[in-house]
């Protein structure tokens, strides 16, 4: 579990560099979902809000909503996931990223967990 990320209790991660944030789901989440067969991402230019749905991930058996850990404007989406949704399973923290967001409120990061806290949170979830 990468140390330089922040984590939401709905099992998304965010990596912040300046006012740019990369968002994905955690390994814990991808294991719970199983193999993904389709990823539905928002369009570039729309706004996302912390705690609100921004994407749908589809496994063999179910569709799962994904909640944004931050607010801002979507500036990039991972187009590779249209053809290779399984990247989210095989590389949730790198190749399987979902969206990049221009942050509108970096103060929101304070409500997220660091890796140590998230690790304990996941243990309590079993």
């Amino acid at each position: 579990m990468p140390k330089d990320l922040k984590y939401a209790d709905s099992h998304e991660w965010v990596k912040v560099e300046g006012d740019s944030a990369t968002v994905g789901i955690t390994d814990y989440a991808q294991r719970a979902l199983g193999e993904l067969v389709y990823v539905e991402l928002p369009e570039v230019g729309i706004s996302v809000s912390q705690g609100k749905t921004f994407a749908a991930l589809e496994s063999v058996k179910a569709a799962s909503d994904t909640y944004s850990p931050v607010s801002g404007e979507v500036v990039e989406v991972n187009e590779k996931l249209s053809d290779l949704p399984g990247l989210v399973n095989t590389s949730p923290y790198e190749k399987g990223w979902l969206i990049k967001v221009k942050l509108s409120n970096s103060g929101e990061l304070n409500s997220l967990m660091d890796d140590d806290k998230y690790s304990k949170f996941c243990e309590g979830n079993h």
Binding site: A32, G34, V37, Y38, K61
Partner: protein, 409 residues
């Protein structure tokens, strides 16, 4: 459908560990509810083998084991699967009036069945709708063995009991025995017969699809039906519950690990690929067997005579054609799941998806649903609406994956 009800809901619950924290206040209630769930004789066996247990029709059942649902589904068709379907209800009807009694409740021509053979049938209500689907076997003229869906058990038993009382009051002779002392296993796939043959002296090569026998398997008195709900060759094995774990272990051992324990998640994918109805999704009280595409299950004599509940409605539909029909579809974009709306090219609503998902064997989205008659021909182009967006769908003949039932050549 056999053994499954609203499986997508189960999968959602299984994935609930990734739900947001604000939903976690329900966890306590869910845990309390789980404690009330019934357990099959194989519960501890499942947990010991990595089974992920979820609530299903009042039972705690394995949705999957260590394999992914994708891998389990593919392995069933390549090698084999062993399913616990003991949550389903097996019963026997006995007496001189067993056949006429059952024929008053189901659409099958039970009398025409040879001893030791069975068929899929439908229990109907007064409006011709399906109360449940069931596999029945005629053991003798005076003994019928049948299995009903777990989710329908209470209403089915109440329905049968009420009609049995009325039947007997009029001088009929029928009584029942509910096999709650037994457990049902489903062994499916190409290795099912070779593996099971190692455990019994009975020559299984002479037992064909839908045949029924009471035989000794691994030393236990079993009811064996050559059937399943996966589209594969295979068997449903009713074994005394105290021997269920031993038999499951013997089957897995004799297959040298190729037959794998498989959960309800894969079972749902398999039956969908085979084009088989899931009661509660694709069949319900307001859907007739004709609308569901099960006219073949209404025997020739029954079409002429009726004699089952709702016969007026059903026979009329057979003559005039139903207004809606169940069809298969291949869809683009996200998988189209239950309740997705179906529209025509001009945007007119023409139906609804009742089951759908990604097919592990075909590697594409498949679905089943009801459309207005006239839009049911293979090749008809439709749109399916998922999360507010329209995607292409094409009506397709079912089964999506060819069946491999063992039949005389």
């Amino acid at each position: 459908m056999r053994g499954l009800l609203a499986c997508a809901t189960l999968a959602r619950r299984a994935a609930a560990s990734s739900a947001p924290a604000r939903v976690r206040h329900l966890a306590g209630a869910a845990e309390a509810a789980e404690a009330e769930l019934k357990r099959t004789a194989l519960y501890d066996f499942h947990v010991a083998h990595g089974g992920k247990m979820v609530p299903f029709a009042g039972w705690s059942m394995p949705i999957q084991y260590r394999d992914s649902i994708m891998d389990s589904t593919v392995n069933c068709r390549a090698n084999g699967s062993l399913f616990d379907v003991a949550h389903m209800c097996g019963l026997s009807l006995k007496g001189r009036g067993a056949i006429p009694f059952l024929e008053s409740l189901v659409v099958a021509d039970v009398a025409a069945l040879r001893d030791g053979t069975g068929t899929l049938t439908v229990f109907t209500n007064e409006q011709g709708g399906a109360i449940d689907d069931s596999v029945i076997a005629k053991v003798t003229d005076h003994h019928i063995y049948l299995v009903v869906n777990a989710g329908c058990r209470d209403k089915d038993l109440a329905h049968i009991e009420a009609h049995m009382e009325a039947f007997n009051k009029k001088g009929g002779d029928v009584k029942w025995h509910i096999h709650d002392d037994r457990s049902l296993l489903a062994l499916q796939g190409p290795l099912a017969a070779p593996t099971l043959q190692l455990l019994t002296k009975e020559d299984l090569s002479k037992m064909y699809f839908s045949d029924f026998k009471m035989i000794d398997i691994n030393g236990y008195a079993c009811f064996l039906t050559r059937t399943g709900y996966t589209g594969e060759d295979g068997f449903e094995i009713s074994v005394p519950s105290e021997n269920a774990v031993d038999l499951a272990e013997a089957i897995l051992e004799r297959s040298e690990g190729k037959v794998r324990l498989t959960g309800l998640g894969a079972r749902d994918s398999l039956r969908l690929e085979a084009g088989l109805c899931l009661y509660g999704n694709d069949m319900e009280q307001h859907i007739t067997p004709v609308e569901a595409g099960l006219s073949w299950a209404i025997g020739k004599r029954r079409r002429a005579e009726g004699g089952f509940l709702g016969a007026d409605v059903i026979l009329k539909q057979l003559q005039e054609g139903p207004k809606i029909r169940r069809v298969g579809m291949v869809t683009q974009g996200p998988p189209a799941r239950s309740h997705s709306e179906l529209v025509s090219g001009s945007g007119e609503r023409i139906g609804e998806v009742t089951s759908g998902g990604f097919s592990p064997c075909l590697k594409k989205n498949i679905a089943m649903g009801y459309v207005k008659s006239g839009m049911h021909k293979a090749g008809t182009e439709l749109k399916v609406v998922v999360r507010g967006k329209s995607y292409d769908a094409v009506v397709t003949k079912m089964p999506f994956v060819p069946t491999k039932y063992y039949k005389p050549s």
